[in-house]
Symmetry: C2
Subunit: 691 residues, 2 copies
């Protein structure tokens, strides 16, 4: 069967339209579920309003930034406007704006549905696990479907309209700009509120988590949504677009460019279809395990994707089994990374229990053992990424020049093919976490809270897995972005009749210089975010103290706190603390580029990926480890709640919070932003570098 | 003036002989100082015996390992013995053994003099700062002089006897083998004892540090000596030998090989002379600051070295100003790294004070802020190393092929030229730390303890600086070892008529594979050491509890604890926990080599250096930061002793202990061991790799 490019564009729109319809169905299904408890309605309205307020504020600030970047792109990219090619600059600007807008829309709707689902999940938990699970999961799946459909439609539209793969880098940069705000900003927001609520509530006042007397409690619930629904969604939108963009840029330089481009689209379409099938089949029995249900859907999606792509490869002329192999290796390694992450963060496995045991000797041992296992946990994922890159390269290398790199980019596309499912699992987490809080605030009784707890705990376990997965995907993506960077650099160099880059030799001191600077950037970036959370939490703690001191009857529960002031602090601080970190990443990239040119940037990107992967895996996993070892102690082990081990485990959890929800996952976005800035500015660096 | 190689060998022996005589003089001077307090004599004898016992035990185990390695070298290196060239194999075996033995001798004597000095320093502190400082410093300087003299004499002898620079790699590997045991084993020993003593003494029983009732107190003092005197000495012996070995290997492949080799020796000789001048001039006034005195000596040494090498360059035919420039850049960057490290760890500067302030909000904030600033602190040093490598390369590149890499190796030699002074400063630390403990146990009164405290605090500040310095030097050294590895690989490849390696391209998937695996190794290695400390400290805590429960009158101070059992636990555990970590490093190297061959190993070494530098800087600096912020709180800030801030700061310090004294500085040794294993096994990897 021989198929044209036009056919795949058409299919992309059909698949995206199906996904939108499916998402609409899920939304309406969630909406028609009953919610009657007045307290729950009231609180969930507060959460929804708080989340919308933050998102609007974030988008307003982002709009200013995006406008500045759009102007820069219009003037300078891909080539300075005064050197001609104005149409290219306009195209890229439009693509950039489209990238931010589509991601923003997906995020906004995702948040809306998630905050609609939380109260309904809580009430449904009164009648058992089955429906409550389904509401939580389907609420999250709306976000999952939207993200994949928007990225597919965006990439297809940009390529169809402008017919030039390098314009897609502009679209991808738009997605990254938004992700930087949504993920890092949302990460600071959520941990500010979480840390401040825990410190004042649990530690100082001894009131339970989610106690409505705590002025930070709504901000904490809002944070779950903006950090894990909107933030994670934007992050994976970004990774997904970056993976397909770099695959397309590399594909367009191949001898069999049109087949290669068709393959990329075909795999993306089949990934979306597989995710829809997985989502439609997710359910849990009356006494089944929600964790198992979530994992089963992930495995279903994986299997369906492998089969569908094999069928496509068999049927369609020009599709290669080698590319199928590379993509399958990527996907399988992604699953393996997920499983090893699970080993380090699951409280039924030995590592979490050992950290809980160490906590009995005091908080220093909680921290030391958590840091150590976090360090070790990076190894399997790093090796997995290394092996999949090596395998994909070797599998596709015999196809001809450039195909090896295309193989690596298809491994990334394969790993991200099930991203719709991954996001659904991930967005499920904050919905059921909120539901647990709402069940408590709405006074729904012990049994309902127990069920909500069970749903929540599944969310935590799966979250650790999806994080490992998304970090792995980002790693592979950025290798292919490195290839895309080299293609872009060579396009510029050949235009000027200069020597082409054939690679980045680590014995070249400019490359080496870039590597060392690139390796220190993720450390700097995460430190700035963590310190931002600290500073912001301090402000919120001061506000909470003020409210307890000045509002009569608050401690006794006869008066209500002013939740909105805490939300304001979290929101304003998050954006204030984020901007220096984001700018630092972009400025350091420019400095390296202007000092060492394209070679230094090649090294810089490598150093950045390597240390970024290491730190992201370390921080995400140790954070998840501490969180679950606290839960393990709270379940009655090592002395249970109130014991010394528990106190130590709570300290570990507080350390882990900004690790796993702010710094760790934001490193992904930092890496993608830096890669795209490099690819976009390559012509400037080549013209103006010192060495 | 034209000078022959023979002249420089001669000069090396003369300089080394002078250093030995100077060390002998300092030893005799320290020995004739009075020590009369019976308690001090008794305890310091216990410390000395404990340290000797550990060293002997360590050397016995090491002897077994060294014998195995010597046999492997004899059979396989540089080429399998059945392929002829048996004399080369014998030479390399002898060089290897010489490397271990010389380093061991320096360590043994260093420990002996240090444990002789501690009691004398304590008693002298009764009469003021001036003499006490001098005893502490001169006791440490013996180690500093011995290390440099032994490495100079060893390198010169090996080259003179065997006339082949690559044999020096064997000598260097011998030094590394010892350093791995001395630094990592000593690091586990010292922190086991420190953590266990603090946990049981300060935390559980509320007795002061260094209280003689604590069974772990002697082990703690022994630990300072085996970790910081013998361990740090062996580490810097190793770095120093590795730097000169790689400079010599590269030099021998240059067009002007004999001049280049002469330059390496000349710079080493002048470094030793400069250190002697710096040591001879170290003194503090009656009310002066010991920190300033130590820093002043370092700066004196630096200035003298720069001037002497400039004079040599002006006078001697064939010596190049470009090489002088490269070496000077290395040294100056080393000093800058020292100063920035100081900024992050000095308690008169803002960072330490901010961490102390964060501690008032609880231990989680101590940890989070310390980790963050630790991350940030890596940046200046990484950039410094990157810039000095880039500058050295550019300065020497015009001299001809291979000179650029020679420039980098001479930057490392330059940075390490003042190593004699650095070790003296470093060994001063544990001597005065011991002295403080002895002053307390000997009941020498408030004022003496205050003086000992002042000496100790200077030791801490300077220790952080010297650690930054030695990590920086290791970074540069390993870049030049990468060059040495490439020379070795090419020698093997050209012998077999295979394609030579011209570099390591990061777009080559084998290189990339190596980079990712190499980057995860330091994380694995440090995690294994930290977990080793945890496990070992648990054993010691159990023993301390046993003694308090079974020895009547111990709590009341009427009976003595059994110190030696704690020393035994620390010693046995240190060696038991170290071996898996050391083997893991060597085995991972072999796996990577057998999978990906020379290209993968090139990437592996790079990944290892990059993440090793990042983690080593992070851990050493955050550890120093926590230690000093605890001291800052204890000095009465943020509520002073007993406040919540103090409790949190103590937890931070406990986390930092294995960071800064076990894992952080051991990464250096891990990097050197892995580099040397790679260079030595390159012919095997080339023959038997899978890809």
């Amino acid at each position: 069967m021989a198929l044209s490019a036009g056919f795949f564009y058409f299919l992309s729109f059909i698949a995206a339209a199906m996904a939108f319809l499916f998402a609409l169905y899920l939304y309406l299904w969630v909406k028609k579920q009953k919610v009657e408890n007045r307290k729950i309605i009231e609180v969930s309205k507060l959460i929804s309003e708080g989340a919308s307020a933050f998102i609007s504020r974030e988008y307003r600030i982002l709009a200013v930034f995006a406008a500045v970047f759009a102007l820069i792109i219009l003037l300078f990219l891909p080539t300075p406007i005064w050197k001609g090619g104005i149409w290219d600059n306009i195209s890229m600007t439009i693509a950039y704006i489209a990238g931010t807008v589509l991601s923003a829309i997906a995020g906004k709707i995702g948040i809306m549905v998630a905050t609609l689902s939380n109260g309904r999940t809580a009430e449904s938990a009164e009648h058992g696990l089955k429906d409550a699970f389904l509401i939580g999961f389907r609420g999250g799946a709306v976000m999952g479907l939207l993200v994949v459909a928007c990225s597919l439609i965006g990439v297809a539209l940009v390529l169809m309209l402008f017919g030039d793969t390098s314009i897609i880098l502009g679209f991808s940069f738009g997605a990254s700009s938004l992700a930087l705000f949504a993920k890092a900003g949302g990460g600071i927001f959520t941990k500010t509120a979480d840390v401040a609520a825990d410190l004042t509530g649990k530690v100082e006042l001894g009131i339970p988590e989610d106690d409505p007397r705590n002025p930070a409690v709504i901000a904490d619930n809002v944070g779950d949504n903006v950090g894990d629904v909107a933030g994670m969604g934007a992050d994976l939108f970004d990774s997904n677009v970056a993976a397909s963009a770099s695959a397309l840029v590399i594909a367009s330089s191949l001898s069999g460019a049109s087949d290669a481009i068709n393959m990329v689209f075909c795999y993306m379409i089949l990934g979306l279809i597989s995710s829809m099938i997985g989502i439609a089949n997710a359910r849990v029995g009356r006494n089944g395990s929600p964790t198992r249900a979530l994992n089963a859907s992930t495995y279903t999606t994986t299997a369906v994707f492998l089969v569908l792509t094999a069928i496509a490869t068999a049927l369609i002329d020009g599709f290669s089994w080698r590319v199928w192999g590379a993509s399958s290796v990527g996907l399988l390694v992604g699953v393996i990374i997920g499983i090893t992450t699970d080993y380090f963060t699951d409280d039924t496995k030995p590592i979490v229990q050992r950290v809980a045991k160490a906590s009995a000797s005091g908080p220093a041992f909680t921290v030391l053992s958590g840091v150590s296992y976090g360090f070790i946990s990076a190894l399997p994922a790093m090796v997995g990424i290394a092996v999949s890159a090596l395998a994909a390269y070797r599998i596709c290398d015999p196809m001809g020049e450039g195909y090896a790199l295309f193989g690596i980019s298809m491994a990334a596309v394969g790993m991200l093919s099930i991203v719709g499912m991954i996001i659904s699992n991930d967005a499920y987490g904050p919905i059921v976490d909120n539901a647990r809080g709402l069940a408590e605030m709405g006074g729904l009784g012990e049994e309902t809270i127990r069920i909500a707890d069970e749903l929540d705990s599944a969310g935590n376990t799966v979250k650790a897995v999806t994080k490992g997965f998304s970090i792995g995907a980002a790693g592979l993506t950025v290798i292919s972005l490195l290839g895309a960077f080299m293609s872009e650099a060579n396009a510029v160099l050949s235009e000027r009749g200069m020597d082409l880059i054939t690679g980045f030799d680590i014995m070249n001191p400019s490359v080496f210089f870039g590597i060392l600077v690139g390796a220190s950037l993720p450390a700097l970036f995460s430190a700035m975010l963590i310190l931002g959370v600290d500073r912001n939490a301090e402000r919120m703690v001061a506000e909470i103290h003020r409210q307890f001191n000045t509002i009569p009857g608050l401690k006794e529960g006869t008066a209500s706190p002013d939740y909105s002031l805490c939300i304001d602090i979290a929101a304003a601080g998050a954006l204030r603390e984020l901007i220096p970190a984001g700018l630092a990443a972009i400025i350091v990239t420019c400095i390296v580029g202007f000092i060492g040119g394209a070679s230094a940037i090649g090294g810089f990107l490598l150093g950045n990926i390597v240390s970024g992967l290491l730190l992201a895996l370390f921080m995400s996993n140790s954070g998840g480890l501490w969180d679950n070892s606290k839960k393990y102690v709270e379940a009655g082990n090592e002395g249970g709640k109130g014991s010394n081990a528990h106190k130590a485990a709570v300290i570990g959890d507080t350390v882990g919070d900004p690790f796993k929800d702010t710094a760790g996952p934001s490193i992904n976005t930092q890496i993608t932003v830096v890669s795209l800035v490099s690819s976009l500015l390559v012509s400037v660096f080549v013209s103006f570098s010192i060495f």
